[in-house]
């Protein structure tokens, strides 16, 4: 249908200001969502990096022979929650303490006996790092014969879990608010553009145009604006990302949105434009004062 495309193009060229503004508004609101997504993705990644450090340490009885320690490690490896078990001998524990705790270095140098015990460092599988699971694993490790004591930084694990909960809640609230903003803006701009043309729609109906004939260019226009807005938002988000990445010295290398998210954003913009048009046109096709 040639006329539909022509009408849609005319819609843009006849009101360049309004069209530009619509696209801009859509773009900026999706940009807002994009920025939020960017923050969310990177926060998520940072938290995951922290969680990698959740570890349970089982201190062994002083003088445990290496064979017994290895058996205990074997045992721990059979736990379904456990990803990896590393044996740390008393000597390497001392070496590590001297390297890490500089102010004690000198003090340790004077010691005649090594005060540190050997230990098993137990890393847990992703998804098995919540306080309950960690505590359960620690309890079972305590049951192993050569294990004297188990430590896993209860506070650290619980704090991390709480941080995650808060981040999820804040993220949910803010994300929802931003999605709301985007929706309101898109609906507003399209509604206004339509109010603008309600006279045109009314006249077309008077000369016998069907609803489909009237609606088609608006729908195409809405979808196109949504698509353009989505693409623009993507570019803006990328630019913001590039700017920040350039400025940071990458403590944790910042990550861009995953491709699926990007595709969903642009497709969502298009769909949103289409839907908003559909809803708005639907109402306007039946104005009170038809005449």
């Amino acid at each position: 249908m040639r006329p539909v495309i022509r009408e849609c193009v005319l819609g843009f060229t006849r009101a360049p200001l309004l069209s530009t503004l619509s696209v801009t508004a859509i773009a900026f609101s999706l940009f807002t969502l994009g920025l939020f997504g960017l923050v969310a993705v990177n926060l998520q990644q940072a938290l995951a990096a922290l969680e990698d450090r959740v570890e349970v340490v089982a201190y062994l009885l002083r003088g445990t022979p290496i064979e017994a320690a290895m058996l205990a490690a074997e045992d721990a490896r059979t736990f379904p929650e456990v990803a990896q078990v590393t044996y740390v001998s008393a000597d390497s524990a001392l070496a590590r303490a001297q390297a890490e705790l500089a102010e004690f270095r000198e003090a340790y140098r004077d010691l005649r006996t090594n005060p540190l015990p050997a230990s098993l460092e137990v890393a847990l599988r992703p998804g098995q790092r919540d306080p309950e699971t960690v505590a359960a694993v620690a309890e079972r490790l305590r049951g192993i014969g050569v294990v004297e004591d188990v430590r896993f930084g209860e506070e650290w694990v619980a704090g991390l879990a709480r941080l995650r909960r808060i981040a999820g809640l804040v993220g949910g609230v803010i994300g929802l608010a931003f999605a709301g903003v985007a929706l309101v803006i898109i609906a507003t701009t399209i509604r206004m553009a339509l109010l603008q043309r309600s006279r045109e729609i009314a006249i077309l109906r008077l000369v016998g145009a069907t609803d489909g004939f009237i609606r088609a260019p608006y729908l195409l226009e809405g979808a196109l604006k949504g698509f353009l807005g989505g693409t623009l938002a993507l570019l803006l988000t990328w630019a913001a990302f590039a700017l920040v990445r350039g400025g940071s010295d990458a403590l944790v290398a910042p990550m861009f949105l995953p491709p699926a998210f990007v595709a969903a954003g642009v497709a969502g913009g298009t769909l949103l434009g289409l839907l908003a048009s559909l809803l708005s046109v639907g109402r306007h096709l039946r104005p009170r004062g038809v005449r």
Binding site: R2, P3, R14, R199, E200, I203, L204, R205, L206, V207, G208, A209, T210, D211, F213, R286, V290, R291
Partner: protein, 228 residues
């Protein structure tokens, strides 16, 4: 072609605009609607193009019952009509040519036939040089003639014209009226609201006269009765 039977009509905010109006118009007839300002002429036309529904009574047009016309059938009715509105109702951001062409597209005419047809009707109303002008660039009479051209364009079986010569000088009025006559002669029924007493008198067509929403005279029925 048209049948009004005991039709009352009230606007949402307002008293009865039409009271117990009954008349018929046969295929091919040319009928004048006259009456004082606010008598109800435009209201009758509005019922004919299904812009309003009757509050009581029956309205039939071109085979459609307006009383219970479904919304999706409204376009089908309007495609069989040509309408000249009292206030023109031109699309402001389209040229004269585009206004006419869009109406043809809306009624589903083959795209390749449209440009020739647009030129033809615009020159029929004496506007062949003004096709590229926007309504705001046209004089009042020129806008009125664009509205007439649009109504004629799809060769409708029934033409409704509301005060189509209100902004035209004597010569243009005569020319437009002759055009409507020719169209009528070719088989189109015409209902024309007009307060141009001289025109109505001279033309000597059947005339329906309204007064405060009531049909107070129907020269056709008189003629029929006189013949009887």
């Amino acid at each position: 072609m048209i049948r009004f039977r005991h039709v009352d009509m009230a606007y949402p905010r307002g008293e009865l605009a039409l009271v117990d109006v009954s008349f018929e118009v046969a295929k091919g007839e040319f009928v004048f609607l006259t009456g004082h300002s606010g008598a109800g002429k435009s209201s009758i036309l509005r019922l004919l193009w299904a812009g309003e529904r009757p509050s009581r009574g029956e309205v039939r047009v071109a085979g459609f019952a307006v009383n219970d016309l479904r919304n999706r059938d409204v376009p089908r009715l309007r495609r069989r009509l040509g309408i000249v509105f009292q206030d023109f109702r031109l699309l402001e951001d389209r040229t004269a040519e585009e206004n006419v062409a869009l109406a043809l597209e809306a009624t589903g005419m083959r795209p390749d036939l449209i440009p020739a047809r647009v030129l033809k009707v615009l020159s029929q109303v004496g506007l062949s040089t003004k096709g590229r002008s926007y309504p705001r660039e046209l004089s009042g009479g020129e806008q009125q003639r664009v509205a007439i051209a649009r109504a004629l364009a799809n060769d409708p079986p029934l033409l409704l014209a509301d005060e189509p010569t209100g902004n035209l000088d004597e010569k243009a009025t005569r020319a437009v009226f002759q055009l409507l006559r020719d169209i009528n002669a070719a088989g189109t029924s015409v209902v024309m609201a007009s307060h141009d007493a001289a025109l109505v008198r001279e033309a000597n067509y059947r005339t329906l006269e309204l007064k405060q929403g009531r049909l107070v005279a129907d020269s056709g029925r008189d003629a029929v009765e006189a013949l009887a």
